[in-house]
Symmetry: C2
Subunit: 322 residues, 2 copies
């Protein structure tokens, strides 16, 4: 099952805001409904956002086929711009939009074919990331892994990035327990990752985000594995807010801090993390009073043991760049 896909002239996606209480699927037929779904995190996670961007352009093209050639192009490009701007930090969204948009002149069927290729590639990449990451971490004994946010099939079309590694390790029998950061403010860990792990029967414990660094310090975690929303050329990693303290704690404890992401999340046009726009979301997600709500943080390259993509393992803490 894919968390987002094309279905009979619509974009079908599982509404992640309703999980784990309800498994509700939405058929989105208007590109601006999809923009709204992206903004309110009904679909989220860097690879899934790439798919959403590409499918959104395909949806716009599909709906605009009755227009004149000029109207078609103008309408689809305008929708694409709104999709691209729905969220700023994950590079995959803009990339997915741009890939589908590049086929615009070939007609809506070509645009849809390109969007489907994006989905297929993300799915295949994640399986490869899972295998590569599991090979990297496997030590001949069951591991205690700590992860943040959600990086499973909900975030990555059908497989998962960091949680894909956990899944492969679990298939091989090398997972003892997964500690899951609850991931405030929207609780993607407690709501989504715990739900995915329970479905697989993987032993897990949710911890509040503030607890994770001391859980690492106590020596009961063998490795931290997280995803990414954008990786700069130097190896700095933007990911869900709350990732950076895990890297600090892992470095102090001397355990690996591994970032799992497809090549589509690597942004060589951004030299360092300082160049990554950090989305600020509604303070009301945090509390009713005054709040500051950055949605991502940047982990400096020197704290990143390895970036694992579908085709390479890069070690920024040893000075390797992407």
């Amino acid at each position: 099952v894919r968390c987002i896909d094309w279905a009979d002239g619509a974009v079908r996606l599982i509404d992640q805001t309703a999980l784990p209480d309800q498994e509700r699927w939405l058929d989105v037929t208007d590109p601006d409904e999809l923009v709204d779904a992206i903004r309110r995190l009904a679909v989220r996670g860097a690879p899934a956002l790439g798919a959403a961007g590409a499918l959104g352009v395909a949806l716009a093209a599909h709906r605009a086929t009755h227009l004149t050639a000029a109207g078609y192009e103008q309408t689809v490009r305008a929708a694409a711009a709104r999709l691209r701007d729905a969220r700023p930090t994950a590079v995959n969204l803009a990339r997915g939009v741009d890939r589908a948009l590049a086929r615009l002149g070939e007609g809506s069927a070509a645009v849809l074919a390109e969007a489907r290729a994006v989905l297929d590639e993300e799915a295949a990449a994640c399986r490869a990331i899972g295998e590569r990451g599991a090979d990297l971490l496997q030590q001949g004994r069951p591991l205690r892994i700590l992860t943040h946010c959600n990086t499973g099939w909900l975030a990555a079309v059908e497989w998962g990035t960091a949680l894909g590694i956990v899944t492969v390790l679990d298939e091989r029998g090398w997972v003892e327990r997964v500690y899951v950061d609850e991931t405030r403010p929207l609780l993607q860990g407690a709501r989504l990752t715990a739900w995915e792990l329970a479905a697989r029967g993987v032993d897990h414990r949710v911890v509040v985000d503030g607890a994770a660094p001391s859980v690492i310090a106590r020596g009961i975690v063998d490795a931290v594995v997280v995803g990414a929303d954008r990786i700069a050329a130097n190896g700095d990693v933007a990911n869900k807010i709350g990732t950076y303290p895990l890297a600090l704690a892992a470095a102090r404890a001397g355990i690996p801090f591994v970032v799992a992401a497809p090549e589509s999340t690597v942004d060589l046009t951004t030299a360092t993390g300082g160049g990554i726009e950090i989305e600020e979301r509604d303070p009301a997600e945090v509390t009713a009073g005054p709040a500051y709500n950055p949605a991502f943080d940047v982990t400096p390259a020197d704290l990143v043991t390895a970036v694992v993509t579908e085709r390479r393992t890069v070690r920024p803490s040893r000075g390797e760049t992407l």
Copy 2:
């Protein structure tokens, strides 16, 4: 106003679980009700727990005056043991109990006088901590301070430890903004500290706990100031879960990490943080599924810029011990 005090044969306390929605005061007339209030955090914070322990023994003695001498002693000692065991990490609770209990042979009036002395001393100590801490941090320009949990009058009888420093700095006109960790799972920052700062009119922003380290990394925080539940002889500090990542981030950013606590929180009988019992609370405070819920963490002495008490400033990161 004191958050806990003796009033007409009862222990009167503000129910912190009801804040900020309701300002509800409880008159507790049974020591075991007080044990329950301590367990469910209706009264909390290391200095306030010291007061609660001493007042609880005074309450037990007050209620037992009609018994025989042997029955009186047995009853009060049993209540004292239950009070002492209500929560394990904050040393003040056991100390408050033991101070009041030491006067048991002199009659219930002497026990109450000792309990009242504990309250008066905590209140006076916190004012001195506030002045000393403000002197330490003041730099001739308004400061951006980050704090965790609640360390104001709600936690410390009538003044505050870390938040007492903020209050003195604010009186002097040197506070620009306070970043307040929401402090999951029970949100003492978002509920209690934000409420205290709003009442004073201090500019503040609540952040999720996972955001604080990157807020520090961005260079928009001048100092981290927190309280403590127990400080070991070597300078290791047990405090509310989520404190340790702040110390890691402050050290990396090169800003001060200051711990504010009365001498009654310093435990010279505990050599290092490894000897401090960490309370584990109900997983249901975190999530409905499987969870691990340690209530405190230990920050190693080398990350602690200064411990500020009512009579000294000790610098563990320079190798000074308590």
